[in-house]
């Protein structure tokens, strides 16, 4: 299977990536190379193999519901591009 230009632009849009034409060409080729490499796996009969959701053979890792200290407000806001009072200020959502 291969992805076409339209699919590539759709995925780029979902990732909020603006691509120049030559990038569309180059990335499209690279993505299709990757897909081709991965699709080698489908040559095997894997009907009896459950899908892998995690590389580690570990289950049930939880944390107890006991509060830890949170960041001080100033530290929490330290990396905010902009702030207003104690809130993160961001470009308008949903526009």
């Amino acid at each position: 299977m291969a992805i076409d230009r339209e699919q590539l632009l759709h995925v780029a849009h979902l990732a909020r990536l603006e691509l120049r034409d030559e990038e569309v060409e180059r990335l499209g080729a690279q993505l299709n190379d990757i897909l081709a490499a991965v699709s080698k796996v489908s040559e095997l009969d894997l009907s009896e193999v459950p899908p892998t959701s995690h590389p580690l053979d570990v289950v049930n890792v939880f944390g107890a519901d006991v509060p830890h200290e949170s960041l001080p407000l100033e530290e929490a806001l330290a990396n905010a591009p902009e702030r207003e009072g104690s809130a993160f200020r961001v470009p308008p959502a949903g526009s």
Partner: protein, 472 residues
Amino acid sequence: MAVRDWEAVIGLEVHAHLKTRTKMFCRCELEYGAPENTRTCPVCLAHPGALPVPNERAIEQTIKLGLALDCGIAARAIFARKNYFYPDLPKGYQISQYEAPLAGRGRFRLPRPDGDREIGIVRAHLEEDAAKTVHAGGATGRSVGADYSLVDFNRGGTPLVEIVTEPDLRSAEEAVWFLRLLRQTIVELGISDAEMEKGTLRADVNVSVRRRGEEGYRPRWEIKNMNSFTFVGRAIEAAIRQQVAAHEAGEPVEQSTYDYDADTDRLTVHRSKEEADDYRYFPEPDLVPVEPPAELVERLRAELPERPADRIRRIEPAVGFDAAVELVTTGRDRLYDRLVAAGAEARVAANAVMNEVAAAGIDPEAVDAGELAKVLGARERLPRDVYLEAVARSADPGFAAAPFLEQEAVSDASALEPVVEAVLAANPEQVQTYLGGKEGVLGYLVGQVMRETRGKADPRVVNRLLREKLRA
């Protein structure tokens, strides 16, 4: 237009905040009303490299909910990333569950006057809530047209369960009744406060209509984030009206997201963020699978309280459907149960709990049911004010029925006759006045008898006896 030729097809997606002390994937403390951005950490702010750790209590609460909804509990549940960009979601994805939720197919028994409806549950899964965004500037305070947004990440990462129903509900009234009973079920499990006005319970509603007898479904409208039972009902009514009108006029009905405007009582197409639902779910690589141990599931199953729907059905034969619903939905049915267990007659107990106990404003749980049952048994023989006083006191510490039962009204004429005669003999002047035509003095004589009997005499009987004796 004939709405009755059509039936509604309604499904709900209900979100409830779980009642944990900390967030879903970090241990920031959850506190409603905490100062802005003071409950955050590298995990819930999505700093690079920070890793999530699931909250064990939230997992247990979701399993418990699944059991209460008769859902199959997954042998292996997997968290998944739901990818989209929005300022309330700092990672660029929400951790949710997709192909392998903790709780799969289930069903919810919905008691109706003419029998049970069974509402299918598609799934109940666990996810994290988004942060709170305030849209500032612009004209309306709404997201569209705002100048900028302010984000408070305290709520971001709150554990949230989403319950998805089959499109099995058939009217606005039925959908609201389902939502109320589901809410009560959740609250009684102790896993959520589920308060719509605080936003800890929210519902998305999917509505379509079809002609009665028609198979299949027509395009549906999704109404998101409804936060009051009243508006859920009104929005559904509005959707039904508008869709029926459109279908009958031969106008197209498009599947889309709608907003309910309470002022106009109409639905308008949600101005879309020009984004098809394309979330590219995939298994969350930062979290390992959850395999609920059988012992845990069985322990949680053993902890389940009797469900509201089951209690309605249990009580109904003795008191009728409406009374059973009222008792259970007001949470007063436990007192009813205790009164009946203490020997009170079912209907007497139900009426007393719904009327006198409710009016007295006392805590039903604090009532001494054994003592109150004695009062109810003597209710018809007690003066009304004595009865009401006894009910009002029945939640007091050390409440005893005996002093009230002693005030049982004496209505036996033969017991009262000697007292009446004694009072007449002791008040010759008043007797003469009465016989002289001033019948108003009778009240004084009745009062004397009541005093002699320390209020126990039935005033009607006293009245009758006095008139008879005076006439003789």
